[in-house]
């Protein structure tokens, strides 16, 4: 029997909605795990996919090599490692070697042989690594299978479509393989790597320079070791007339009558908060819209499935006056505002990246008005509004790649409740936005 438990709670910012329709409500679900800290961690079945395209020359590849060697040294003889190099072709350098002395020597030799080459067949590199991990998984089913993909560029060879790549990453997660991504430098495609990590149940990491690569890789190793559960999934069953969408940075699937959200791994003390925006329909006063929530996950050791106790949330349709007089759940309002602000940040950065500054400005202005309504009178929300206002004021400034990536990452990490694995301190959003001209 396992002592690990999966916990789920949920509630609404406001539980009443106008019977005439048009109300927007926020459903806040929290998923966490608790278990004995002394439980032995599962061995790792880790696959490292390393981008060796030409752009990795000039120190980035050397830093990745140093980090990979450090990773080998930190892995235990119970762990297995696969290493795959990819540019416009894919080379399997190490397949599922146990990290005993002999395995470490073999891994060191394979890592030393990496050198920068041509284009970036990112999907093929990921797929080959996932295949190595899956083969090892078949041999050692008690290990925790993970892929960590390092890249400094954009997919420009083979399958390049972000949505389609994320579909395949999600399909492999469904079959047990977790994927995290590490963007190196300032030129990587954060939307692609972010989408892969969200669909893959892992984390998006960023490393601006050489030293940070090692910090993040070691952090990922630590995360793999200490995860209480993996592949946590939240399922939200909705009545037919209620529309909903996920706010923030979680991959999800729209199923008939339900939304399935990939929550990913959960560490001790970590709670992941998923916010859904509900578009309430018109209906008879007094009628109720019952939303059912359930969650499941698997244990890293042995892959046993565990479930959280299902919970429900109910929106009741009422008259105008009763709706206007209802109290708000301030903690959930703040949680929804947090997710909303992170969404604004990510969407704005995506537009700025595409050079659509005017569209980004219109977007953020409209969103800010809605965020103000949601956050009005909510203690702790002033900072969110201030930061969103700073982003609005700075839209037309020169957002360099590094600044944009920091802002995007901040929005992602914040909305997913994840830790930044880099050791160097990062300031708040107001510290990183470009100064006004």
């Amino acid at each position: 029997m396992t002592s690990t438990r999966l916990l789920l709670s949920a509630g609404l910012d406001r539980s009443l909605a106008r019977a005439t329709g048009g109300s927007v409500r926020y459903l806040v679900a929290e998923v966490s795990a608790e278990g004995a800290a002394s439980a032995p961690s599962a061995p790792l079945d880790l696959g490292l996919a390393i981008d060796v395209s030409g752009s990795m020359s000039g120190g980035k590849l050397a830093a990745a090599q140093r980090a990979a060697r450090g990773l080998c040294a930190a892995m235990s003889p119970r762990d297995r490692l696969s290493v795959v190099a990819f540019d416009n072709r894919v080379e399997v350098l190490l397949h599922g070697r146990t990290m005993d002395d002999e395995g470490r020597d073999a891994a060191d030799r394979a890592i030393a042989a990496l050198h920068p080459r041509g284009g970036t067949a990112l999907f093929d590199g990921w797929l080959a690594t996932a295949e190595r991990v899956a083969r090892t998984m078949a041999e050692a089913p008690d290990a925790s299978p993970r892929v960590l993909l390092l890249s400094d560029g954009h997919a420009n060879d083979g399958l390049c479509d972000r949505g389609e790549i994320a579909v395949h990453v999600g399909a492999l997660l469904e079959r047990g393989v977790v994927t995290s991504t590490l963007g190196v430098g300032d030129g990587y495609d954060e939307r692609l790597l972010g989408a892969m990590a969200e669909a893959g149940g892992g984390s998006l990491h960023d490393a601006a320079g050489g030293g940070e690569i090692a910090e993040v890789i070691m952090g990922e190793l630590q995360e793999g070791r200490s995860a209480l559960v993996e592949r946590a999934t939240l399922r939200v069953a909705l009545p037919p007339q209620l529309r909903a969408e996920v706010v923030g940075a979680f991959a999800h699937r729209m199923l008939p009558g339900a939304i399935e959200v990939t929550v990913g791994s959960l560490l001790p003390g970590q709670s992941k908060r998923v916010v859904l925006r509900l578009f309430c329909p018109a209906g008879a006063p007094g009628s109720e819209l019952a939303i059912g929530l359930s969650a499941d996950a698997v244990l890293p050791a042995g892959g046993l499935a565990i479930e959280a106790r299902p919970v429900d949330a109910v929106v009741r349709l009422v008259g105008e006056r009763e709706n206007d007089l209802q109290p708000r759940d301030l903690a959930r309002c703040l949680a929804a505002a947090n997710a909303f602000q992170a969404e604004i940040l990510r969407d704005t950065m995506a537009r700025v990246r595409d050079g659509d500054h005017a569209g980004a400005r219109r977007h953020v202005e409209r969103a800010l008005r809605r965020l103000e309504r949601l956050a009005r009178g909510v203690p702790g929300a002033e900072r969110l509004l201030d930061e969103a206002a700073i982003v609005r004021r700075s839209i037309d400034e020169n957002w360099d790649e590094r600044t944009r990536k920091e802002a995007y990452l901040m929005g992602t990490k914040f909305s997913r409740g994840e830790r930044d694995r880099r050791a160097g301190p990062r300031g708040s959003l107001s510290d990183i936005v470009p100064p006004r001209r």
């Binding site: 899956a134 925006r277 059912g292 479930e307 299902p310």
Partner: protein
Amino acid sequence: MKTDEDRAEDGPTLSDLAAASGVEPRTIRSWVAQGLLPPPLVLGPGARYPMEAMQRLLAIVAMREDLGMSLSDIRRDLLVADATEIAAHAARFARRRTMPQPARARGADGRDALDYIARLRGGAGNPPTARPPPDTGLAALEQRLGGGLPPSARRARAETWLRMPVTPDVEISVRGPLDAEQRARLERCADLLRDILLGTLK
């Protein structure tokens, strides 16, 4: 021969149903209102439900959590399910509470990771099990709130829904398409439901 009142004394209470299933009482009441569960035989405090309500409730929970079915899909299936099928679903609930489940190392199509990759490499018309997230987030919110309503997800999927009024406050919604025989069966269900709700069941 037992009367309704006699039977009511044997049936489970709302608390019994909640304790056995882990479902909140207000959710159970909501499911009763939605026609998923039979109403209590006798109203008032300590009301008791028909005996079959327990099995039906456990079946609903198992269908929702094990099979990922929506309430509307469950309602549709239960409309045509016989007692054996409902018992089979309820038995799944009992199993899932007592046995650790194996990891979901296979997708909904029954393929494991290696099968999936092999199929992908083989270009065998790989059917993705997930679709890219739809256009959500701010863009969707703005479209919805700022006018220019996009086609609803339901219309976008070209789904047909049959809405069958039962009483002024209750209707049956079934995701179609349905053939004539299925429609006729549903109409009989609606008639029966109407009689139950209005107390005209003979």
